[in-house]
Amino acid sequence: MSEEMVTVNMTVNGENVTKTIPVRQHLVDFIRTELGFTGSHLGCEHGICGACSVRVDGDVVRGCLMLAAQAEGAEVVTIEGLSDTGEIADLQDNFVERNALQCGFCTPGMLITAAELLAQKTEQSREDIREFMSGNYCRCTGYHAIVDAIEKTNNDRLKA
């Protein structure tokens, strides 16, 4: 059986890419192995842990549950792109300041998900933040510090 291939075009972190890839390759394998953006991680390849979260056409998706071919023509943003634009610099600073990460493996997914919550620009209680973030697994922190960092960022932005 030889591998069935497909040519895909999309924008990743602001740059156009065209690659011929196996049809069965999921989006995060594509981003990691074909493009070298290794900031998106694979934790379960099952849609549970959230480590592979990336932004596709403005929405946060599980990169392991989407084939790269399904992102044809889409605009994909990973943690690398989100970092370069400075969109979440305040959130990243607060994660570091508050030590809202230990091993860092879940962190890109956490940040991308939190960015979506922050984009709502509304008051969020700690309970709200916990609920919104409950699709992202972290084994290290116990979540408390993550909630602190997101809460501070949201409050600071609302005050600004």
């Binding site: 900031g39 099952h46 990973t78 030590n99 990460l101 979540y143 408390h144």
Partner: protein
């Protein structure tokens, strides 16, 4: 002039919260984990694993797989065994009469658990390797499955390893005093049996190795997600017959470990062997499904407990009988009996009773091998002991705080031994208990609880005292036990020509902040800015041989080595400065990276000058002084088997008595990890550890059916704690520096995990107490367990 301890200086880096440089990198997606590294010509390994819990392998047909697209190598367990010097035998000499079956990296003629690797396929891509795996035909003959520990222990049970005679790996008893006499004299004797489910680490980054063997230099380089690079170097070299000094192990960023990654795994040895065979880099990343059936599991215990109690609440005797179900083999090289051993050591450990008897029986099962996972044994021992203390409080009409006040070891009573015979010193149970009482606003919580009960709202308040063994010594299990696992650790501290300082560590950092903590210790001890210090860890070519990070030892053991090595460097800097300044080194000090006159802050010579002269301008120094400027110190515990820590947890929860759902409202921990280097990092170790313990207490369970099939080996089915279910966790400390070391740090990494299950069980039982005589005495405490205790199902 005198020596001022670095931690006593104003604004010392010891005791200060500082951010981690690794964190800044990780938030930008620039972490570098093993799977992020792919050298040219890398090929990828996948494994065919046993679908049966116990089966004879009659035949393996690999022909079609070998012809499949992209396949470079297919290797069976028998073929791999020929490349190994000897099978692994997971025993330690300190465990008297322990029995273990020799184990090869992959099954040779018999599979003993669902998930045991049978055949490795190496191909250009992982997908191609998995495709080829589907073409492998294996003929099996099913064998009787031993999966329930209660049956495995019986004389009529099928025996997994006939050479061992029965399924019993190890039996141990210990104790002190006259337990039978004390029970006879007790006003009350209470007995209960507890069940603890098996669970597993679920580090978000799975196990991963990238193995590169160079046939030219005969060097083997393995990048791996490991806590113990030197141990991996030793074990892999000896297993595959390579000179140990030709092996380099690099642990780059490690995506969570929790004890899982202190072990060695057969599939990782297989990938290494493939690299030797192919002369190419071979990468193996365990996917999540195979993680569940190949990562070590932990716990799975039934514990019977019995206490003797006087009417005034004094605990006079305690007895436990543990039955541990481990896996198909004893995990090499640390064994699978540590969990049971620790349960015996620490149960009822905070208390003064003079009579203690404990027994453990460890049995093999056709299941994934178990071994050491964060807080080994402690969650079980603490849950049992603290449940019994709360029950004792009920029986004697005391408040849970009061019964502990009565029975815990007094803070001024050390050194002393506990019932298991383990020596204790520098503990602070009383101080921790009173501090928790204040933090919780305990009286207010009780008032609120009573009010809410009138409205049909059932809240529970729990507390749980604990001791925790950290930083084991070489006279205990390792070293003396025969395993080539270092219980000492070492740090090299070097002054560079620039005046910068390199701190090379035998201990490792998986995100706890070990690198930052060591930089703080070195900067404080030398007297320089922390910006001038850089830690290196996780590379056996660049660091002195050490044990790595396990058993909450990094700061307690590695920290002291760093402290002493940095003080040696400081002494040499002062010596050299004394020569250059023509003054007695005694009159000098180092402040902010400058040598100064003692008591002054005026720079006389900066470290950059010392570095420059020490490396380049040696002619300025007398002939009888050759600068070293690189100091290595090793540190080990000497007399004590562990540095014990202590503390107490509090939990406030609400139980929905219709659904059995537990809402965790607030969690508190007060603990004593000795001198704290970085308060924020210490707190976060406690918080993260708590949630890991709460996962085991409430949700996590590796469920096996009667055929030894793991029923819930996916992240959708194996439930871990997520943000919504978990509470805010308030952390307090009492700081009693250990007298074992000059730095005074004890371990902090497991104190959250150890007691969180016990405090949760006590809180649940406190919540349902008005409604039922039943008690929750099993974990995980699922809604079903709660409803059963309430008599509703």
């Amino acid at each position: 002039m005198g020596f001022i301890h670095p931690y006593e200086r104003p604004n010392s880096y010891i005791g200060r919260t500082l951010p981690r440089s690794r964190a800044k990198r990780a938030v930008a997606g620039r972490g570098r984990y093993t799977d992020d590294i792919t050298p040219p010509r890398t090929v990828h390994a996948a494994f065919v694993r046993s679908p049966y819990a116990h089966a004879k392998i009659l035949n393996i047909d690999t022909m079609a797989a070998k012809a499949s697209d992209g396949v470079k190598l297919v290797m069976t367990g028998a073929e791999l065994a020929e490349m190994c010097t000897a099978p692994w035998v997971g025993t330690l000499t300190v465990f008297d009469n322990m029995k273990a079956e020799p184990q090869y990296p992959m099954a040779v003629d018999r599979a003993c658990w669902h998930g045991e690797p049978i055949v490795m396929i190496v191909a250009e891509t992982r997908a191609q390797a998995e495709d080829a795996g589907e073409l492998i035909q294996i003929a099996y003959e099913e064998l009787p499955v031993v999966i329930r520990k209660e049956k495995a222990v019986l004389p009529d049970s099928p025996v997994i390893h006939p050479n061992l005679g029965d399924n019993i790996a190890w039996v141990k008893t210990l104790g002190s005093g006259d337990v039978d006499k004390a029970f006879a004299e007790a006003d009350h004797v209470l007995e209960e049996t507890f069940e603890f489910g098996r669970h597993t680490a679920v580090s978000l980054e799975s196990r991963v190795v990238l193995c590169e063997y160079d046939p030219g230099t005969e060097r083997l380089v393995i990048h791996t997600s490991s806590q113990c690079p030197h141990m991996i170097e030793t074990v892999f070299a000896r297993t595959l017959g390579i000179a140990e000094h030709n092996v380099r192990i690099v642990a780059p960023d490690v995506g969570g470990s929790f004890g899982l990654k202190i072990h060695t795994f057969g599939d990782e040895v297989a990938a290494t062997a493939a690299s030797m065979k192919l002369g190419r880099p071979v990468k193996f990343v365990a996917d999540r499904l195979e993680s569940f059936v190949s990562d070590i599991h932990a716990r799975e215990n039934r514990v019977k407990a019995k206490i003797g109690l006087m009417n005034d609440g004094t605990l006079i005797a305690a007895e436990i009988d543990d039955l541990s179900g481990v896996g198909a083999y004893s995990q090499y090289p640390r064994t699978s009996v540590f969990e049971a051993n620790q349960i015996l050591n620490i149960t009822f450990g905070p208390y003064k009773h003079a009579n203690y008897r404990a027994k453990a029986t460890v049995v093999y099962l056709n299941a994934v091998p178990t071994s050491q996972y964060r807080a080994v044994g402690h969650p079980i021992g603490i849950s049992v002991g603290e449940f019994m203390m709360d029950w004792a409080a009920d029986v004697t009409g005391l408040d849970p705080f009061d019964i502990r006040r009565k029975n815990i070891m007094e803070d001024d009573s050390y050194p002393r031994n506990i019932g298991s015979g383990i020596p204790m010193k520098d503990l602070s149970h009383q101080a921790c208990l009173e501090k928790l009482h204040g933090l919780m606003n305990y009286a207010d919580l009780r008032t609120e609880q009573a009010e809410l009960r009138k409205k049909g709202i059932y809240r529970g308040i729990g507390i749980a005292s604990f001791i925790k063994g950290t930083a084991p010594s070489p006279v205990g299990y390792y070293g003396a036990g025969g395993a080539r696992i270092a219980a000492q650790d070492a740090t090299t501290v070097k002054l560079e020509p620039s005046g910068g300082v390199i701190v090379a560590l035998g201990v490792t950092d998986q995100g706890q902040g070990v690198d930052t903590v060591m930089e703080q210790i070195a900067a404080a001890a030398i007297g320089c800015k922390i910006e001038m210090v850089r830690a290196i860890s996780g590379d056996t070519d660049a660091t002195p041989y050490g044990g790595g990070t396990y058993a909450s030892r990094a700061t307690a053991i590695g920290g002291e080595a760093t402290y002493q090595a940095a003080l040696d460097l400081r002494r040499e800097i002062l010596h050299m400065a004394g020569i250059l300044l023509q003054t007695d080194a005694e009159n000098l000090d180092i402040v902010d990276g400058n040598v100064v006159d003692f008591g002054s802050s005026e720079a006389r010579i900066p470290l950059s000058e010392i570095g420059r002269i020490g490396h380049f301008q040696l002619g300025e120094l007398p002939n009888d002084y050759q600068p070293v400027l690189s100091h290595t110190r090793r540190y080990r515990l000497q007399d004590s088997p562990y540095i014990y820590t202590n503390g107490i947890h509090g939990a406030h929860i609400e139980v929905d008595v219709d659904t059995g759902w537990i809402k965790h409202l607030k969690h508190w921990v007060v603990e004593d990890c000795g001198r704290i280097i970085n308060p924020q990092l210490a707190d976060e170790q406690i918080r993260g550890g708590c949630v890991q313990g709460l996962g085991g207490a409430l949700y996590e369970h590796c469920i096996y059916d009667d055929y030894g099939q793991l029923q819930n080996g996916t992240m959708a089915d194996y439930i871990t704690p997520m943000a919504y279910e978990m509470p805010d966790i308030e952390v307090g400390h009492v700081e009693t520096p250990t007298s074992e070391s000059e730095l005074g740090a004890k371990g902090a990494g497991e104190s959250g995990t150890g007691a969180a299950p016990g405090v949760m069980m006590n809180a649940v039982n406190d919540a349902v107490k008005p409604l039922t005589r039943g008690r929750v005495k099993e974990q995980p405490i699922t809604p079903e367990v709660v409803l059963k205790a309430l008599g509703k199902i």
